[in-house]
């Protein structure tokens, strides 16, 4: 569970990981309810039990509000269980207020700057939260981090939760992995095995295509950001995590030869990608994958959660193929959690609630109730165990470095520039030079914010 060694300790907090709001956004429409819950954040907990209560600062009473963007049914029931678990301890009341993901994202700034903000809110680790902390909108949670409940949290997660002031302002409660999803029964039917290397992957694509199946599924009409998985992973495999962060933070340019090399690799599999991708919505692409019309799909762990009953456990993932063995292996591992508003009225109760959220019991309660396969942030918590999350966790632990996702590492303002460039590349791969020049210009202007 300790993901610490895998993260790059030297990376500046800014580049290290920015969780963006975009996934949400996108999440809302795109990923749909299930995924939203995941992308968004949720907590954990129940059992927080008496231990916590006793240790909580003496006077806690009153009512605080938890504003949650976990709006799909499963995640919402998880949040309800979590809040009920805390309220049962009778040290104060938490009111749950659930807002749909897209609305939540666009209104977050208003929530935080209003005169009576919700005390606790769900959000993403990294830059997405650090940005708000820089504006003085978030409550300092350093003493929550120093509490016994948080002993043993990895320093990577701590880094993602620390603002430029050096204070912790975020409480992570789970993180998840990304990979190439496939259906084992279909692979058996087509006589192929999960590949390890790029060449093996291309060979697989060829075999599958010859059988009349689209090797690589993708749905971009309502969720163009999904294409960024491909950019992220190809860049990580071709140029490594450090270069990836540098290009996202603006230290390197999108029209550099290194980035061109990324698209050269992409061109090799472009003919295997679903030609209809740009006309398919997230859900339609998911359906094609479940029906076995597309063979593989690069996505986060939430991809498996929307599976219909008849697909059941017949869904698995493999690590994104290695392209250059000399490049240190990096994986994407986005983390979600909570922060508190600086203007909240009841700090004592807010912090008591945060400590409750940090307990393994609370995190297990949430993940179990909501059927979420992510990995809890508390090192003592057991994930709602599935074969996959054992495998996902092992993959993240074995990685040399971790990144989060395009918008989380590069900032939300950069996501539309990537969506435009990547889609255009898929349409007109021959124009790559001018596409990258345009992308670089658009990125420079977006970063001016």
């Amino acid at each position: 569970m300790n993901i610490e060694p895998t993260m790059n300790p030297e990376a500046e907090p800014e580049t290290q990981s920015l969780i963006g709001r975009r996934s949400f956004v996108v999440g809302a429409t795109a990923v749909g309810a299930t995924a939203l819950g995941l992308l968004a954040g949720s907590p954990a907990a129940v059992a927080a039990t008496k231990k916590t209560t006793k240790k909580a600062p003496a006077k806690t009473s009153g009512t605080i509000t938890l504003q949650s963007n976990n709006a799909d049914d499963k995640s919402k029931s998880g949040m309800e269980a979590l809040v009920a678990g805390f309220n049962a301890k009778k040290i104060g009341t938490v009111k749950l207020n659930t807002v749909a993901g897209e609305l939540f994202r666009t209104q977050l700034t208003q929530y935080l700057t209003s005169s009576k903000p919700p005390e606790v809110l769900t959000w993403l680790a990294g830059k997405a939260s650090q940005n708000y902390a820089d504006q003085g909108l978030l409550l300092d949670l350093s003493d929550v981090w120093a509490s016994p409940e948080m002993a043993g949290y990895s320093s990577a997660l701590k880094g993602l939760s620390t603002a430029s002031t050096g204070k912790q302002i975020f409480l992570p409660y789970y993180y998840y992995w990304c990979g190439v999803y496939y259906r084992p029964s279909k692979f058996a039917e087509w006589g192929v095995k999960p590949p390890k290397t790029w060449d093996e992957y291309k060979a697989l694509c060829k075999t599958v295509q010859d059988k009349g199946v689209t090797p690589i599924g993708l749905g971009l009409s309502d969720t163009p950001w999904v294409a960024s998985f491909w950019f992220d992973y190809l860049n990580l495999r071709v140029n490594g995590a450090k270069f990836h962060r540098d290009v996202l933070s603006g230290k390197k340019s999108f029209d550099s030869p290194e980035v061109k090399a990324v698209f050269a690799k992409w061109s090799e599999v472009l003919p295997y990608m679903d030609k209809q991708a740009k006309g398919l919505g997230f859900a339609e692409a998911q359906t094609k994958f479940y029906k076995g019309e597309t063979a593989t799909y690069v996505a986060g762990n939430w991809w498996a959660l929307g599976a219909p009953k008849d697909v059941g456990d017949d869904i698995d993932f493999f690590q994104f193929p290695i392209i250059d063995p000399k490049v240190r292996v990096a994986e994407e591992a986005p983390a979600d959690g909570f922060f508190a508003s600086a203007k909240g009225k009841n700090t004592a109760l807010t912090k008591a609630f945060m400590r409750y959220l940090a307990t393994p019991e609370a995190q297990e309660l949430y993940l179990t109730t909501s059927g979420n396969s992510s990995i809890p942030a508390s090192p003592k918590a057991k994930a709602a165990v599935t074969v996959q999350n054992t495998k996902g966790k092992a993959m993240l632990e074995a990685a040399d470095d971790l990144t989060q996702f395009f918008n989380r590492d590069g900032g939300d303002e950069l996501q539309p520039t990537a969506d435009a460039a990547l889609l255009k590349f898929m349409d007109k791969p021959a124009d790559i030079n001018s596409i990258l020049t345009e992308w670089q210009a658009a990125a420079v202007s977006a970063r001016r914010v």
């Binding site: 975009r22 163009p224 658009a442």
Partner: protein, 299 residues
């Protein structure tokens, strides 16, 4: 004179409190939730603001930046295209449908209702319907396939060349019905004696239309024009729901780009500058029209 002053005063004094409240309360509400933000928007257009902290005044920089922002230029061109194609087609279709369905015959009411039906749907619902029709294996492509024109099929909403027109068609589906109703009302108000007289004088259908119907519809035309211009410039929902301005900004309108700049990129000052441009576009169309209409009236 003193009498008249007193008289006037009494009038003011005697404004019943209920009436005053009916005037003042909506006015204050309007001022608070409409005028104030509108004025603030104008002010924001001259600042750089992320939504937090205080806006930083930057003078005309936002507007200067607009002039060489490629996406803004696409959005501007598309908005003008939208105004012309969507506006023109709505008017034409609405008028043709009204002329076709103005007759009182059995069953006509059913057709009218059917054509008006899309108006009552939320545009987002409309968008969902069209998404299905435009899907890669949707009704349109399948129909083309069925008649042997499969090669004409395309991914309608993701082809930069067709996407804007595909969106216009989806919007027309709704606006044609609305304009039709406006014209039907206008046609009803034409005195049948006029058409009758024209017929007696030997005018053919075209002549009747040109010299009797159209001049009588002048009042309706001005309403239709304002409705169309305003509708075209605020078109947002259907584009946002179907393509969000994509693929790669090829269906971006000023309204969708404004939304993206404000809420995805977080540049509220820059977005306000775009909003100003939309406002100026709308107001200039409407002012030009009003001036013309007033002049004609004076004549």
């Amino acid at each position: 004179m003193s009498v008249s002053v007193r008289h006037r005063q009494r009038k003011v004094d005697s404004l019943p409190p209920t009436v005053a409240a009916f005037i003042l309360v909506p006015f204050l509400l309007e001022a608070l939730v409409v005028f104030a933000p509108a004025v603030q928007g104008v002010f924001l257009a001259f600042t750089e603001w992320s939504g937090v902290g205080s806006p930083k005044p930057v003078g005309l920089q936002n507007f200067r930046e607009l002039t060489d922002d490629p996406i803004f230029i696409i959005g501007f061109k598309n908005t003008v295209r939208w105004l012309v194609v969507f506006g023109g087609m709505s008017g034409l279709l609405g008028l043709s449908l009204a002329l076709l369905l103005k007759v009182q015959r059995r069953g006509v009411a059913v057709y009218r209702s059917l054509i008006f039906l899309p108006v009552i749907f939320s545009l987002v619902v409309t968008a969902l319907v069209w998404r299905v029709l435009y899907a890669p294996e949707g009704l349109f492509n399948n129909a083309l396939e069925a008649v042997g024109l499969g090669s004409w099929g395309r991914i309608w909403l993701a082809e930069p060349k067709t996407v804007l027109y595909a969106l216009v068609v989806a919007s027309l589906w709704r606006s044609a019905g609305y304009i039709m109703v406006l014209y039907l009302a206008g046609l009803k108000s034409i005195d049948p004696a006029l058409t009758e007289a024209a017929r007696v004088d030997g005018a053919n259908r075209l002549q009747t239309f040109q010299h009797i119907t159209m001049p009588q519809l002048r009042g309706v035309n001005s309403v239709v024009l304002s409705v169309i211009v305003i509708d075209a410039l605020r078109s947002f929902d259907i584009v946002f729901a179907l393509t969000k301005g994509g693929p790669y900004n090829s269906s971006q309108l000023l309204s969708t780009y404004m939304f993206q700049t404000a809420f995805s990129t977080g540049r509220l000052g820059y977005a306000s500058a775009i909003a100003m441009i939309i406002f100026l576009l709308a107001i200039s169309f409407i002012v030009i029209y009003l001036v013309r209409a007033l002049r004609e009236e004076a004549r």
